[in-house]
């Protein structure tokens, strides 16, 4: 829950240095929200981000916005990326952003899928930081994350981050993870 997450301002080492030294790896949530089961893109992105050195938490399929937000908070992620191919992006993206705000965790949200060009300005206005459409490469996504996502500031920035015990994660919202 949001209230249990303690945050302190980032310490003096810059985020870039921390990333380069490997002391603070970005934590990213890859979420598959809505009813569509097309997880090819989400899985490729999750794996490419992991291979690029980020820590990735994948929600699995058929998540509601509430479930994604609960996982994002519980896993204390630095950004949420959503994959939507069902045409419900205009409903689901703003919902996730809204719920994150209400929970006091305005984590940046980006995503991709089959999203018509003309819907993108509206999604950006709703707070979606970047929208990747078919044909985008995993490298473009990785570069964008490197250029735009910063660690949100946690305890022990220069040492490895304290983790809550796995038992604290509910089975419902906990995602799979892999570290490099």
């Amino acid at each position: 829950m949001a209230s249990t997450v303690k945050r302190r301002p980032t310490s003096d080492s810059s985020p870039a240095e921390a990333i380069l030294s490997g002391s603070q790896r970005l934590r990213l949530l890859v979420g598959k929200v809505g009813l569509d089961g097309h997880d090819r893109g989400a899985k490729i992105i999750a794996r490419a981000l992991r291979d690029a050195g980020f820590e990735v938490i994948y929600t699995g399929l058929h998540q509601t916005p509430e479930m994604v937000v609960a996982t994002a908070i519980q896993e204390d992620v630095d950004a949420v990326s959503l994959s939507i191919l069902s045409g419900a992006h205009n409903t689901l993206f703003p919902r996730v952003i809204d719920l994150l705000k209400k929970a006091g965790a305005p984590v940046p949200v980006f995503g991709g899928g089959i999203i018509p060009e003309e819907d993108i300005p509206r999604l950006k206005k709703a707070g979606v930081r970047a929208v990747f459409t078919p044909g985008a490469t995993t490298q473009e996504v990785i570069d964008w994350v490197r250029g735009n996502i910063r660690p949100r500031g946690r305890e022990g920035v220069t040492s490895s981050r304290p983790r809550r015990a796995a038992a604290n994660r509910s089975a419902r919202s906990g995602g799979s993870r892999a570290r490099r």
Binding site: Y58, S86, E117
Partner: protein, 561 residues
């Protein structure tokens, strides 16, 4: 007369001479475009296929004749000379009223069969007013909640005269029950009802991921449907065993073949274990393959599929009826090959893919519309896609002779290669105890994720090409029209559902749902009770929801690697 071996030796010598005297100097002068050529799926492609690639290859054993075991050349004796493939464009969007209009438009333009696309909530067995359906109603297909929607969907379309394909899996039994109820209301005898329901839950766990119950109870429902149709709806194709989605999820051609045919084995096995005689139901199993971009690989895949299935049905399941050995298939061009960039190029891709399906001997075909990576297709785009099939069928001449590429050194050796690779994978699945166990262990899922990641990397390194995406890019894409689903669809559909709920007899709904549950628990065939429940206007969500009590819900492991 020469001894048999002499010809081979002579050929080898000639080839050796050619390589030394003609090929090598040329290669020294200008090397080939790549060091290695492979198919889209990574199968090595030889520079030149020769008779040596077919040593020991017997046409009688490998090909037979059309309509004859092992059906490599096609399931029917006259193929497209007798009857062209069925041109079946998949469509559905918005409310049943919108889709009904599109169907009548397509039928009036020469389409010969209907194919229903349902929206996401329907595919997941949810009603339009379920909170999880928000934003998804009528978006990717038509929203169906109760029999009232189905009546509207087929309004003024005589079900005794058209054949209908319904792409639905987890809640398939409910939708079949609704279709039969509409037929009854139209006064059409069930023995005259023709069509196909996808009903292939195994590939849902593998690839498309729209499920409700775990694999074992899901298989039981399917066995019930197969048994019911064998007796009461004899012209209905009960399962369309689908490789399409497996391929779209990123599999190779051989994986598509192997996992699809292994799913088929799973259904046959389940029915046999339930006490059905194989020849009673096997002729009504049909298939559905992808027609992807590697032209020869796809043709080879269709031909290999027929040969493998014929052998499995005859030798493993001891089917006696030739119709049980025969693999009949639908094909759809590859959605994942279409590009949002320079979308008009998609027309050309679709034409080539459609040609491969036709040369592969498909029984029916859906050609994708050029705008499908942007959204649902517009009427104009759908018409071009349909015209593409008509041009192939009636202008190009390819439908005039049967299996015209048979005997090609390259195509026949590629057919053999795909057959061998698929059989290897199927052997692994058998060793795991069958497809259900393989799915439970995540084997096909992992294999596909691996292949799709590999392909993505090849694209990003430029080793595989998508024109307009990683080569020949343009700054600006010429915009094309996209079909808009008005936001009012959802509220209209929800109002309609609420009205039905108010008008129907709640006590009858309750009673029929209780009877259905009793059948589920007693292990009786679910279908008669299912038909009674839909006739009482019980909704898709109510029926699927009720059956979660005895059957449970499926949850997938949340892995991406």
């Amino acid at each position: 007369m020469k001894r048999e071996g002499t010809g081979v030796l002579t050929r080898r010598r000639h080839r050796g001479d050619w390589e030394e005297e003609i090929l090598k100097p040329q290669l020294r002068k200008s090397p080939e475009r790549a060091r290695e050529f492979t198919t889209l799926s990574g199968v090595p492609v030889p520079r030149l296929a020769t008779p040596e690639d077919l040593e020991g290859w017997e046409p009688e054993e490998k090909l037979g004749f059309p309509g004859q075991y092992p059906f490599t050349r096609g399931p029917h004796p006259t193929m497209y000379r007798g009857k062209l493939w069925t041109m079946r464009q998949f469509s559905g969007f918005g409310t049943a009223v919108d889709t009904n209009k599109r169907y009548r438009y397509l039928l009036s333009h020469g389409q010969t069969g209907l194919s229903v696309a349902f929206d996401m909530p329907t595919l997941m067995g949810l009603d339009s007013d379920d909170p999880r359906s928000e934003g998804e109603v009528g978006r990717e297909g038509v929203a169906i909640d109760t029999l009232a929607d189905m009546e509207t969907l087929f309004h003024a379309i005589p079900l005794g005269e058209v054949s209908t394909s319904m792409t639905i899996n987890a809640p398939a039994a409910v939708l079949l029950a609704m279709y039969l109820a509409v037929a009854r209301k139209q006064g059409v005898d069930w023995s005259n009802v023709r069509g196909t329901i996808q009903n292939d839950i195994l590939k849902e766990y593998i690839a498309q991921k729209e499920w409700i119950y775990p694999p074992r109870p899901s298989l039981r429902i399917i066995v019930d449907m197969i048994a019911f149709c064998a007796r009461q709806v004899p012209q209905w194709n009960t399962v369309s065993i689908s490789g399409y989605h497996i391929r779209e999820a990123g599999s190779t051609a051989a994986q598509e073949l192997a996992f699809t045919l292994a799913d088929g084995v799973g259904y046959v096995q389940a029915c046999v274990e339930a006490g059905l005689a194989v020849d009673e139901f096997a002729p009504r199993l049909s298939f559905f393959f992808n027609a992807h971009s590697d032209f020869f690989e796809e043709i080879a895949k269709f031909r290999a599929a027929r040969r493998i299935w014929a052998k499995i049905m005859r030798e493993r399941f001891h089917a006696r009826e030739p119709r049980s050995w025969m693999l009949r298939t639908h094909a759809q061009t590859a959605g994942c090959s279409l590009t949002a960039q320079q979308p008009h190029n998609n027309i050309v891709r679709v034409a080539l893919q459609a040609l491969s399906a036709v040369l592969g001997g498909t029984q029916s075909l859906h050609t994708n519309s050029m705008d499908e990576t942007l959204g649902l297709p517009t009427e104009k785009a759908v018409t071009i896609a349909l015209r593409t099939q008509q041009i192939l069928a009636e202008e190009s001449g390819v439908a005039s002779t049967i299996d015209p590429l048979a005997g090609s050194y390259f195509l026949e050796s590629l057919t053999d290669t795909l057959e061998r690779e698929a059989l290897d994978l199927m052997g692994s699945i058998d060793r795991m105890g069958g497809i259900v166990q393989a799915i439970e262990q995540g084997f096909p899922q992992r294999e596909i994720a691996e292949a799709s990641f590999r392909y993505q990397q090849q694209l990003e390194r430029g080793e595989k090409v998508m024109v307009g995406v990683n080569r020949y890019r343009e700054g600006e894409d010429s915009p094309i029209d996209v079909l808009k689903i008005p936001p009012t669809v959802e509220s209209t559909q929800i109002r309609r559902l609420k009205r039905i709920r108010k008008e129907r007899d709640a006590a009858v709904v309750r009673k029929t749902l209780d009877e259905l549950l009793a059948c589920a628990q007693a292990g009786q065939n679910l279908m008669p009770a299912m038909v009674r429940a839909v006739e009482a206007y019980a909704s898709v969500g109510e029926i699927c929801g009720a059956l979660k009590a005895p059957f449970g819900e499926y949850r997938e492991a949340k892995t991406y690697f």
